[in-house]
């Protein structure tokens, strides 16, 4: 499997879309236009996109509180997402979920999740469905470094292993869980933990789309071929605070700036495809413009969108009359 020109354009567009989306949400939040808790994925784009490019509608992902990027990567409609984040009726979840609960099961996006470690068990379920119904599907759980210490996560590793489920666990290690450093909170290492459960693990630079894409390809193929679960340990950085409002004082001086300057995922991608003449700058500039417009439009429409009303409060609790 090779990346075609169209794949590369699509990958770049998705990454840019995530970046623009998050930057816009950041601005709108700072302006007081977005309520609640919002966790942004900016800086981590190559991970979500590099992985989800291998997935199709048979496949499922479970995300985290930092879910916007995974949603976009897996194919959720960004307009519906923006409406959702603004709490509007036309949001992907009718305004009932908000940033932390965006989901679209029709594209295999099983939900952002407000519970750290909530996703891995669910992904065992999607993997079990795929295995039982022989859909050929694979299920991927995104797990933060902080979430990698949660018992639910370990249990899921083991369950996936002993049931030989078509699952991949992606530990997105951005170095911090809130203000707590992963070098401190993670006893042992992700790779050694994977080995502890008899799973292979690949460590990968999460700023490098191509490295992620390649590692993900192997892990997802392995799962699809019935060879069981594996782990990707993806090292990356988040550009904004843990949530919007976080002063990020716990990071080292210049830490974020250095990453932005030296290994921004979009920049690395651009440089690489230009250097290797796979795409040219103009292709990407066009995408940049188109995406920017698209996001501006989403924000404008979302702001103007109608809110749900009292009639919506008690719907969607149960499937049948209650």
């Amino acid at each position: 499997m090779q990346l075609s020109r169209n794949d590369l354009l699509a990958a770049y567009r998705k990454m840019r879309l995530i970046r623009e989306f998050e930057d816009a949400v950041h601005e709108e939040f700072s302006a007081g236009n977005i309520p609640g808790f919002v966790h942004l994925y900016a800086g981590e784009e190559a991970s979500g996109v590099g992985i989800c490019m291998h997935l199709d509608d048979r496949d499922a992902i479970a995300s985290t509180h930092r879910g916007h990027g995974h949603c976009i990567a897996k194919g959720c409609d960004e307009r519906g997402m923006m409406f959702e984040i603004f709490g509007k009726k036309d949001g992907l979840c009718g305004g009932k979920g908000g940033s932390m609960h965006i989901a679209d099961l029709s594209v295999g996006m099983m939900g952002a999740n407000g519970i750290v470690g909530g996703g891995p068990p669910l992904i065992c379920g999607a993997a079990l469905t795929a295995k039982t119904l022989k859909t050929g599907g694979v299920a991927v759980a995104f797990v933060g470094d902080g979430a990698s210490n949660q018992g639910t996560t370990f249990e899921s590793y083991n369950l996936a292993k002993v049931w030989n489920l078509p699952a991949v666990f992606v530990v997105e290690d951005n170095g911090y869980a809130e203000s707590t450093a992963s070098v401190w909170s993670v006893g042992g290492s992700q790779a050694a933990r994977a080995a502890g459960f008899g799973m292979p693990c690949t460590e990968v630079d999460g700023h490098d789309f191509f490295a992620v894409w390649e590692a993900a390809r192997e892990a997802i193929e392995r799962a699809r071929n019935g060879e069981g679960p594996s782990m990707l340990h993806v090292r990356l950085n988040r550009y904004y605070g843990h949530f919007e409002g976080d002063a990020i004082s716990y990071k080292g001086e210049g830490e974020i700036e250095r990453v932005k300057a030296e290994k921004d995922a979009l920049m690395l991608f651009r440089n690489r495809v230009i250097e290797t003449s796979l795409l040219d700058a103009g292709d990407m500039d066009a995408i940049d413009r188109e995406v920017k417009e698209r996001i501006v439009q989403c924000v404008t429409e979302a702001k103007a969108g109608a809110s749900p009303t009292e009639a919506d409060l008690l719907t969607d609790v149960y499937t049948s009359a209650y």
Binding site: K96, G118, L122, C124, Y318, S320
Partner: protein
């Protein structure tokens, strides 16, 4: 009608639904048994033998023994339900909910609402509850009030074999997450159970007897105690209506209100601890909705506010029994009874 045990009724419901719909699978610790072991396969069928014999007929592909890992497998069942299977997971004792509650109340129960209606989560959790087995504090709790509190969950408490088969079948066919509470002291109880599959709709109470003087609302195993108390009271000239709501969520408010209005007296029997439980839930409902219709103070017969004791001497007084129900009815009837 053929007589079957509560255990058999459950086993039959599962088999029939598995035969009917290949998306139905079951999972749990030792629900078949012998996994990876050199000896007998299907060695257990769960700790009470409830699911025994299903694996040989449906294979290990659809009868999944699990490691001891409730968060992972209950969550797995939730995720499988959201993606196209209809899993029936066994939480061996409801007392173990504390290691996996998140996957039930924050995940499965809320998918539909959080996702704006677009999720369907046909998850059934079978679990064992109740005291009387000398199983002590961590294996004897009721806890259904906790599940009843949570929007998005449905909660069923079958009180006999007929109810067990019908409610479990409905649970499996239902598109919402349902927790079915099986009382561990009832597995050997026998009763008439049709051979063919049938469902009992949720939210429709069963009035097991009609009387003029007092309405007794009871849950799960307590329905049997209430019927026994009513038999005894009949001889003393007190005539009781006994209502088995069958499901605490949804709750058949109408039947409770109507039957209580008819008798004007209410006794609620709830094996759970007394605080924030079904007894106060029902009394609250009746008091707010039917003020003035009661002729006497409503009575709540519940377990006390203490963990379940091990010693048989203590457990026997811990469990709300027939005598306490009778006393509560007499209390409701007032002086002279």
């Amino acid at each position: 009608m053929p007589k079957k045990s509560y255990r058999q009724a459950i086993n039959e419901a599962i088999r029939q639904e598995m035969a009917r719909d290949e998306r139905v699978i079951i999972m749990g610790e030792d629900i078949s048994g012998g996994m990876g072991a050199p000896g007998e396969q299907d060695a257990w069928g769960g700790p009470m033998g409830v699911t025994k014999g299903i694996m040989p007929d449906f294979s290990r592909d659809r009868v999944l023994d699990t490691p001891i890992t409730e968060s992972a497998f209950i969550g797995c069942a939730a995720g499988a339900a959201a993606t196209g299977l209809r899993p029936v997971a066994e939480l061996m004792f409801v007392d173990f909910m504390g290691v996996c509650f998140d996957q039930i109340f924050n995940q499965a129960a809320k998918f539909k609402y959080m996702f704006g209606g677009k999720a369907v989560t046909p998850l059934t959790i079978r679990t064992m509850y109740g005291a009387g087995f000398r199983a002590a504090s961590q294996h004897s709790q009721c806890l259904y009030p906790l599940f009843t509190h949570i929007p998005g969950l449905k909660v069923a408490l079958p009180s006999n074999p007929y109810e067990a088969k019908g409610l479990l079948t409905q649970a499996i066919r239902d598109d919402d997450p349902v927790i079915v509470f099986e009382h561990k002291a009832m597995y050997d109880d026998e009763g008439e159970v049709p051979d063919e599959a049938y469902t009992i709709p949720f939210g429709e109470a069963n009035v097991t007897r009609e009387g003029d003087d007092v309405t007794i609302v009871a849950f799960g195993r307590m329905v049997n105690f209430a019927n026994e108390a009513a038999d005894n009271l009949e001889k003393a000239g007190i005539s009781c209506t006994v209502v088995d709501p069958r499901t605490t969520s949804p709750l058949d408010r109408d039947t409770i209100l109507e039957t209580t209005e008819e008798t004007g007296r209410l006794v609620v029997v709830d094996e759970a601890h007394p605080r924030c439980n079904m007894a106060s839930d029902i009394v609250g409902l009746v008091s707010q909705e039917m003020f003035g219709a009661l002729k006497a103070a409503p009575q709540m017969v519940t377990a006390p506010h203490c963990p379940v004791p091990f010693s048989p001497a203590l457990e026997d007084i811990y469990v709300p029994g027939v005598a306490r129900i009778e006393a509560a009815v007499r209390q409701a009837m007032g002086k002279g009874h």
